[in-house]
Subunit: 401 residues, 2 copies
């Protein structure tokens, strides 16, 4: 009688799911193609003109799209293009890193309107939580000062921090990220802000950013190789960020390389952490970023040695990614200084032969992405925007929690 084995099933859908999907498809189309007329949208989405009209009208009422001046193109009634209204929605993005935390406010089209940064005190979340909440509150109120009604249009708070998640902190992390892992961060932030809070690792956030405003814009299959303090891959598969069963997909930094007779995690060889070690630099040094940018741009011999080995490992990683994911393109991005990323890209080429070498390619196998300390925070903010407005399977289903 204790047949309490739960029944596993996917959720069904109904009219509202249909409508929600179609709304998202419109927004997505406008995001990818720029302004489009109702007729264009109808053709592109295979919906009827009437349906498109209804939805566009609704989106316009909601302040998410607006009409532009009619354009005459050949015979027939001129068409009225609609575009996304940047001020239609906002999200806050929060990056939690070892020494600093950054928060940004981003609008519907991915423009950063407010940014703020704070140092994280040692001692982990017990003292850092307050810093973070203050930072978010500051960004939020600055945003409210810039645009009216921003609070009403705030779709959520996205958090990005180094993964992996849900692993027993091994305690060997001197920058206390392990402590952050154990801390009930989402609950604290939800309670402290009243917003919908979502979490991704920093590579995933970078990929989310690239998808909204960067090199992965409009792509359905792209992998962002993110070089930061660690190294990770953000996976855009079938047009959505892939998280894996525990949100840890793409943690390529822990992949093992065999070299010199022993296995080493990729992260120990190609990441800022390894560069800091190579340079005997203090990661907490506030001018380190600028210094590395300078050294890399000047092709300092000390840094070039590291670049050579890191580039070799990245070349291998890119080959692996192409082999395993078969993406349209690989994007190299990072919180590393832009000068360094540029040097890395230069040092990586030419790429190893792989299945990605095919006739009819339209995209380069490897593209530079954002190399900007703020890109992770931007991606963190892009998370809630994407969840709220991009078409995806789960959005169609009935209240998936």
């Amino acid at each position: 009688m204790n047949d309490v084995r739960p029944i596993r099933a996917k959720s069904g859908t109904n009219h509202e799911g249909t409508s929600a999907h179609n709304r998202r498809v419109m927004i997505d189309a406008l995001r990818i193609n720029g302004a489009l007329s109702r007729a264009d949208l109808a053709r592109a989405t295979r919906l009827t003109k009437q349906t498109v009209s209804n939805i566009i009208e609704e989106l316009e009422r909601d302040g998410l799209v607006s009409s532009q001046e009619a354009v005459r193109k050949g015979r027939g009634q001129p068409s009225t293009p609609y575009r996304l209204v940047p001020e239609g929605a906002f999200a806050i993005g929060l990056q939690i890193d070892r020494h600093v935390t950054r928060a940004v406010a981003v609008d519907l089209v991915g423009r950063v309107l407010v940014r703020a940064e704070a140092g994280l005190p040692t001692g982990g979340p017990s003292r850092g939580a307050k810093v973070i909440l203050d930072l978010v509150a500051g960004v939020r109120s600055k945003l409210a000062g810039i645009v009216r009604q921003s609070e009403k249009r705030l779709v959520g708070l996205g958090v990005a921090m180094p993964g992996p998640f849900g692993i027993d902190g091994s305690g060997d992390d001197p920058w206390m990220m392990g402590a952050w892992q154990k801390f009930p961060l989402l609950e604290t932030l939800t309670a402290g802000t009243g917003l919908d809070v979502g979490l991704q690792n920093d590579a995933a956030a970078a990929a989310t950013a690239e998808r909204m405003v960067g090199a992965a814009h409009g792509l359905d299959h792209a992998v962002c190789l993110f070089v930061g303090y660690g190294i990770g891959a953000g996976l855009i598969l079938n047009g959505e960020l892939y998280r894996g069963s525990n949100g840890n997909a793409g943690e390529i930094g822990m992949a093992l390389l065999f070299a010199a007779g022993k296995s080493t995690p990729l992260e120990h060889r190609a990441s800022l952490a390894s560069l800091y070690q190579h340079l005997s630099a203090d990661p907490a040094d506030p001018v380190l970023h600028a210094r590395i940018d300078d050294l890399a741009s000047r092709r300092d011999p000390g840094i070039e040695a590291w670049i050579r080995t890191a580039a070799a490992d990245l070349r291998w990683s890119i080959h692996l990614i192409e082999t395993i994911f078969d993406p349209q393109t690989v994007i190299l991005c990072g919180s590393a200084p832009e000068g360094l990323v540029n040097r890395l890209i230069a040092a990586i080429g030419p790429l190893l032969p792989s299945i990605a070498e095919r006739r009819g390619r339209t995209l380069p196998r490897l593209q530079p992405g954002m190399a900007d300390p703020w890109s992770v925070a931007l991606g963190a903010a892009a998370g809630p925007i994407s969840r709220a407005f991009d078409p995806h399977f789960a959005a169609i289903l009935k209240d998936s929690r």
Copy 2:
């Protein structure tokens, strides 16, 4: 005026998409959970009792589900469970390998009803195409002899063959798979059978089989590491087979290992091809499979040496898969003899530490899957069944071609 830049957009959906999805969700729920009552289905899918009733009635009319005897469980009216009708649909699966081709007929629940095998003549598709078409025709007519109306319930022909696809055959493949790649196989089969034809690589097929009737049954995130002539990974991500942008996702055999100062594709070290070479065996030998099974089971020292290195490489591969995909489980399967796969699994353990080691795991990190020469053909057949009946995003959208 030549603004013919095509507009890229995802397709919208309508009532039929909703309904199609809900039908698929019911079938999926019955497949995963076994027989369920309408009330159970309503709770599990979050649809109303009425909707479930309508859909079940329709599915019963279509011969896809049937009621079982009512069961009394506590208070209230007894419930009438419904189950999938195995004879509700059939598919033909076709495996094209180097020396042989196999075809099977499979029903809705993944039972193999007919199987047939033929040697492939040297000379590639020019002569092989006829063999294949005859084989398929034979299986089809045998199926028609076993079950009435099978032709009406045939949802398609699934083909599995070694990848990667769409790459210029380098001509160095002595078994002519390169020639098959260039051959217009899908067109030939579509024309020759009148069926819907789909293609996957053999690892993907193995994963599809595991998902329908094997260790990945009901899982949404699983990776099948497939050891066959080559080695590949079949990726079940978000409950669907992931194909990548060109159908080549998971071609892990081409991943590069660095050992002894040079890089070697995994495939050259851990695959039947490498074993054949190690044993100086002729791959076309028809009793080779049985001989290897025997050698492996008897722990022949010659084969044990290969097993040790292959197991080390597989151990690394599993670590990589866990690191990159964060799956619920990894399944080791193959067209390799079962005795060999068992030995490999034994030799692989213990696994390398990875993020897959977490508290609260309910599934083993590594599970044995099917090790059966027919599993690829089964998976090939499972492809069309899955495409026709499993819930997935594309199935909701308007006529996705």
